[in-house]
Structures are given as structure tokens and as C-alpha cells.
Symmetry: C2
Subunit: 425 residues, 2 copies
């Protein structure tokens, strides 16, 4: 057989080769974020604020605590008082601020959280006292200020409490309640549409005739978008027919800020997504030097973003992680857009095709202070099981095909990293 001669890896002038230049993953992310704008804010009640991103600067209007308060159950006293026994002249319960004045030789019973009575400067905790016949004896010396929470100990009026970009967890919500913020301004959540393409794809509950496969990208991408804080407002399935695809894309873009399509971005003649995006918007890139996810396509249609994700389940989820999630986070007001990266030690050798950077799925786990990475079996793009249990993506650079056991490589840490044993909950 006569071979027709070799060819380089880069884009070449062959008529069947796509016109889109192959760009690096770094360049792809830069382009995505350059075209992504931060959404506006909205005001929500504290009960709906969990996991939202704060969209305002919050300062304390008052001191917290607003009065000197007892930190313990016990007796409010004067620390410098030298009396052995002190006469009990009253009781201080939380919520009541009027009352007696403590003088040398006297004490006031006080509960945790109650305002310190006038005259007192310390609290003797009940465990360190002895009470008998209207008198209390101190078993230990108290210092001035002991077990008293001074005014403004937590926050002074005017203090900065939380800032724009803070993700609101339980402690943040408690803190907002403390300073009297029943409603807060948070960033809007990006609205996402998910469009599956392909004649061969059937819904999960349809019968599987010969040559067909079930749509896993639709459910997986909807879940991934929700998990990234977006609201999935539309979803659909287009056959490989230009009119239908055009119609559904237009419908989706009316509802959503971001459209995710899966499939139809390869080099086949029925791959209609790229040409259609050229018609209706502007394709910003159409190929990325990476494995999986080389055909990843990114376009803008007016202000809206379209990610043409590859049809292979692993490719589409890995592209979601690398490009869609940072964009959704930017829209939603997060200041930290990317997953953290760390150096991990390979638990076994890896060979890969070194023609482009590869993102292999791996389990990163800590043993004796060393972070070991093990890949999750066969790394082909269709094999969704390679993502199950993975808490990291190993970044294997182009130009180096072989990695030995013990070599250090970069890992991108996915959600739910847990740094002990098998690292995922």
C-alpha cells in the first residue's frame, strides 16, 4: 500500500479540516471570561439567601453585643470587692435591663446573656460559687471583666461585616441576622438552557432501538448547572435538522443567559451547531487543543453565551467544569472562578497521547501527608464511569507521553474534595 504522506498536528489547508484554529485551554478560558458579564443583583429574604453570593457591602449599624452581657450563669459582682460572702440583692435575666445596682458586699444572680447590672464589672460562674441563705460565696477570685462580654466585642457600630462576593453559608446568614439584615442584596443566578442534539439520542425513558443511545448529557448538564448555582429554565432535544435546531436554539436563548448544547460540533457533515452559530451569532472559538473536548465551540449571540459541548458524556462534563462553570460563577458574582489546583503524586505510571494536553479523571487521596492520584480506569471520552468517584482532573501536558509512578503532576480539584482516605463523600 502506498501511503499518501504524513501531516502535522496543527490546522492545515485540507478541505475537510475545520477552519477553526486550535487554541490552548488557557486561551479558551480567557475568551470565555472576556465575553461573560456579571449579572445584576436582587434582594432576597434571609431564608432564601443560603449559598447565594452577597451583592453589597454590609456594615454593623449597632454594637454587638449592644450592652455588657454575662457570658456565664452565675453572679454579677465587683471584682475588687474583698467580701467573703456577698448578699444577693436581685436577679438579672436576659431581656430585662432595669434593676438593682451592685455595691461592695452585694451580688446579683445573673444568667448567660443577661445585661450586667450597674456597678458590677465581673461575673463569677455558678460552678465556682457556693450559695446559702440569701448569700453567695466565691470559691475562686474573679478578675475585672471576667465572663463579661463587653459592648461591641463581636462587632462595633460601623464595622465591616461581609462584602460583595461572599458566599452565604450558615455562619454568614447568622451574622447578617445579628446585624438586623432580614433582607440582603445578592447576585442573580444565571439562567441556563440545555439542548441535546442528535437523531440517535432518545430520552431516558424511551425504548432503545438498534443504533440508538440514551441521552445522558441532558440530565447530567442540568444537574451540573444547578450544582454550580445556576437555574435551569429550559431544556430540549433537537434532531439533526437545521430548521428544528435553529428554532429550538432561538427559543432557548429567549429564556436563558447561557445555552449549553451537546453534540453536533464534530467534523461530520451533519454537525450543524457550528454553522448555525455562525449564522445567528459569532463563533469565538471552535476547537481547543485538549483531550477530551477538542471540538468545544463557544459563541456569543448578542449578550447571550452559547457553549457547543461535545456529544461524548465525559467530554461535555469536563468542558462544563473547565469553561462553563467559571462563566456561570462570574455571572453569579463569585470572585473566585476557577477550581484550585495542587501538585499530586502519581500512584501508577501513565502513558498518554502527547499531541495535546489531556485531562484525566482521578481520585486524589492523602496518605501520610502525600497526595496520591490514581486514574479512574479507561479514560475514553464516552466512558462516564471514569468520572464516578473522581475528585480531580490530572493535567497531563502536551509533549510528554510518559509519566512514572511517583511523578508530580498538576491536579484540578473538583467539588467535594475530602482530604482523607478516598477523598470523596
Amino acid at each position: 500500500m502506498l501511503w499518501l504522506g504524513g501531516r502535522g498536528q496543527g490546522p492545515a489547508g485540507e478541505e475537510l479540516v475545520t477552519d477553526y484554529p486550535m487554541i490552548s485551554p488557557e486561551e479558551a478560558l480567557r475568551i470565555v471570561l472576556e465575553h461573560t458579564t456579571v449579572l445584576g443583583t436582587e434582594t432576597v429574604g434571609l431564608g432564601e439567601a443560603l449559598d447565594r453570593v452577597l451583592g453589597e457591602e454590609v456594615t454593623a449599624a449597632e454594637d454587638v453585643p449592644p450592652f455588657p452581657a454575662s457570658a456565664k450563669d452565675g453572679f454579677a459582682v465587683i471584682a475588687s470587692d474583698t467580701s467573703t460572702w456577698r448578699r444577693l440583692i436581685g436577679e438579672r435575666i436576659p431581656g430585662v435591663s432595669a434593676g438593682v445596682v451592685v455595691q461592695p458586699g452585694t451580688a446579683v444572680r445573673i444568667m448567660t446573656g443577661a445585661p450586667l447590672p450597674e456597678g458590677a464589672d465581673a461575673v463569677a460562674m455558678v460552678e465556682h460559687t457556693k450559695e446559702t441563705e440569701g448569700r453567695v460565696g466565691l470559691l475562686r477570685r474573679v478578675q475585672p471583666g471576667q465572663d463579661v462580654r463587653p459592648v461591641g466585642q463581636d462587632l462595633a457600630a460601623g464595622d465591616h461585616v461581609l462584602g460583595t462576593g461572599a458566599t452565604l453559608g450558615a455562619a454568614e446568614i447568622g451574622l447578617l441576622a445579628t446585624v438586623g439584615r432580614a433582607r440582603v442584596r445578592v447576585y442573580r443566578r444565571p439562567r441556563v438552557a440545555v439542548l441535546t442534539t442528535g437523531d440517535e439520542v432518545v430520552e431516558v425513558d424511551e425504548p432503545l432501538r438498534a443504533g440508538l443511545i440514551r441521552d445522558s448529557n441532558g440530565p447530567a448538564l442540568r444537574a451540573a448547572a444547578s450544582y454550580a448555582g445556576a437555574e435551569v429554565v429550559w431544556s430540549g432535544h433537537a434532531r439533526d435538522e437545521k430548521g428544528e435546531l435553529r428554532l429550538l436554539m432561538a427559543e432557548a436563548l429567549q429564556e436563558a443567559h447561557v445555552l449549553l448544547t451537546s453534540g453536533g460540533v464534530s467534523m461530520g457533515r451533519r454537525d450543524l451547531v457550528k454553522p448555525l452559530l455562525e449564522e445567528t451569532g459569532k463563533v469565538r472559538f471552535g476547537r481547543v487543543a485538549q483531550k477530551p473536548g477538542k471540538p468545544l465551540t463557544f459563541a456569543t449571540v448578542g449578550e447571550k453565551l452559547v457553549f457547543g459541548l461535545p456529544g461524548f458524556p465525559v467530554s461535555s462534563l469536563v468542558c462544563f467544569e473547565l469553561y462553563v462553570r467559571p462563566a456561570l460563577r462570574k455571572m453569579g458574582g463569585h470572585t473566585r472562578l476557577q477550581r484550585p489546583r495542587m501538585q499530586v503524586t502519581l500512584a501508577h505510571p501513565i502513558h498518554h497521547q502527547a499531541d495535546r494536553p489531556e485531562f484525566q479523571r482521578a481520585v486524589v487521596s492523602e496518605r501520610q501527608g502525600v497526595y496520591w492520584a490514581e486514574t479512574t480506569g479507561l479514560q475514553v471520552s464516552g466512558r462516564l464511569r471514569s468520572l464516578i468517584g473522581a475528585n480531580g482532573l490530572l493535567v497531563l501536558p502536551a509533549g510528554r507521553a510518559h509519566f512514572s509512578q511517583g511523578d508530580l503532576v498538576t491536579a484540578i480539584l473538583l467539588d467535594r474534595l475530602e482530604v482523607e482516605g478516598v477523598a470523596r463523600e
Copy 2:
């Protein structure tokens, strides 16, 4: 002044001292989990399954892929064929399985995902071919099986796909869709009620009169319970009045599996939660040797669990982390109940009262492979700000008061650890 003499730390016979023995945090968690039972399962659609815990064993009913499929856009050929040019005899598109048979000297145009035509055993990707006048030339040699996804490559019929206890993320949901599971059995979510106690506590949107503080525990605990996967079904506020407290506790326990109260568990005379729980259920412990959270109380009322959390905001959230979250996770079918722990290096010296173990709030961050811990400022129990930005709890053991910069201590890693820079998103 004549001191009345010292006393040990342990429980003593003083009339004002609570009768509850002081138990260790480990013992407390053991008791909590011993009384926690796993809830049953329910069936939900895949669209509602995100972040739920699988309650069944899922196996593949069919091979995935169910037919040998092309992994690339290109041409289906016979690898051992030695023809230089091959005649194009047809096209294979995804979703269509009928068609021509490939024989030596011929090729079939094929799209990614399309079934391999009969006779063919490899795919030559389009980038490595040259097409002209109904013929295709291969620029590179192909191997048998090249760019073909064999039957069952992802899953063989009968393969175990996912098991009981798996948390369903995007990849898991995609995998369930792949094997045709439109509905899956998941564990029920625990139902939680949150009851704030205290005359001094006002709601977040009420005016703050002298001596009063705003309820931060209610909002924070509701958020924490939701974040831990529970459903908050009831919430309320009881004044320090036994009849009202009894009524509200009964109402809450009718709705919920788990009742969280905050406040009213100290040693003051108006601390009504413990006596009331003794009346209506069984108090399993009433003091834990820890800081913060010593007054933590745990009781069972029939099958229901009651956590009497301390009133201080930090104490209640730290107790939630250490005891409530593991119980909620166990009820909800999780197999891993506790947060991971790791050894971290102190970035500064720490002094603490060594009378009991202390859980100090810290930021753990990685620099050059070393995990450094810095505490989040003043560690008093009322200061909710000490939890803001914290991604770890340092476990400072009893019996050792001083830790130097560079010392190794154990940290419990809270949610959203990100192991780079300041570690939290």
C-alpha cells in the same frame, strides 16, 4: 478575703451543679449515632435526584454502547485492507443501523456515534484522510479496532453501576440516564425543626430594645440543616416559660424527625430545656467536655431526636457540625458521616484553657505543600465572626495549654475546603 477553697473540674456534689456527667466528645458522638436510625427510601425522578443519596443497587440492563460505534467522524474501513484508495459506498449516520457492508477496497463515511457498518473493523478519522471523486485515501495506517467503541466498553449488561450510599452528582445522574433509569430510589431527607428559646431574643426584623439581642441561631441553624441535606419543616421561638416551651416542642416534634433548640441549656434557673426533656423523653447526655458547647444536651423522645444546642451562636454551629450533621447524614443514608481530619501546621502560637478539648475556628491554606492553619481572631463563643471564612476546626486537646508556631495539630475540615491560597470559595 477568705477563699472558700478550690474544687476539681469534674462533676461534684454541689447543689447548684448539674447532675449530668461530663462526657468526652467521642462518647457524645457515639451516643448520638447509637440513637440515630437510617430513614427509609422514596422514588424520585432523575430531575430531582441531584445531591440525594442512592438507596438501591443499580446494575446495567444492557451493554453500553449497545452496538460497536464510531468514536470519530471519518470513514469505516477494514484495517487489514491494503488498498491505497477506497471507494465510498455509503454513509453511516447516528441513529441508523441498516446499510451497506464494507468490503476490501471500500469505505463508508461515518459520524461519531454511528453504528459501525458490517464488515468494517476500524475508523480512519477524517483529519487523517483525503477525499476526492467518490474515493477516500488514508494518510495514516489504521489498526483493527481503532476509533471504534466496542459493545459494552462503558458497561456490560449486568455490571454494577452505582450502589446504596452513593451521592448523586452530575456524572452519577448521567450514568443513571445512560442505563435507562428515569426514576431512582433515594433515601428520604431528614425533617428538621428549629426552636429558638429566650425572652431576650427578638427576630431579625424587630426593633432592638435595651437588653435584647437578635436571633441569629434560628436563621443559621435552618441554613446549616438545609446545607446538610435536611428539610426544615418547622421553626419557632419560645419565651422562657415552661408551658409555652412544652407546647412548641410538642408541635415541632410532630412535624420533624429532629428538633434543634438553641439556648436554655445552661445552669441558670430559667434554663428550662433539660428539665422539660427529662419530663417528655430521655436525656442521653447533658454536658460535654468541650469548648465551645459544654452545655450541649441530647435527648430522645420516642424515635425523635432532640439536640439542645447552647445559645451562643458559635457554640450552636460548632455543635451542629460535630453532632447534628453526622446524625442527619446517617438518617439520610450517607455512609460517611464525619468530616475528614488532617494534620496542619500552626502559623502562630496558640494558648488555650487546657481544662477541656477546644475546637478553634481556623483558615487552613496550602503553601508549598504545607497546610498552614491560622485561627480566625478572638475565639469567644458569642463571636460569630470567628466562623466567617473558617474552613477548619482545630482540635486542641485537654491537658496542653501552649502550642508553638510550627506545631502540628489536628484540624477537622469543614465544607468547601479549597486547598489553595485562602482555602475557601
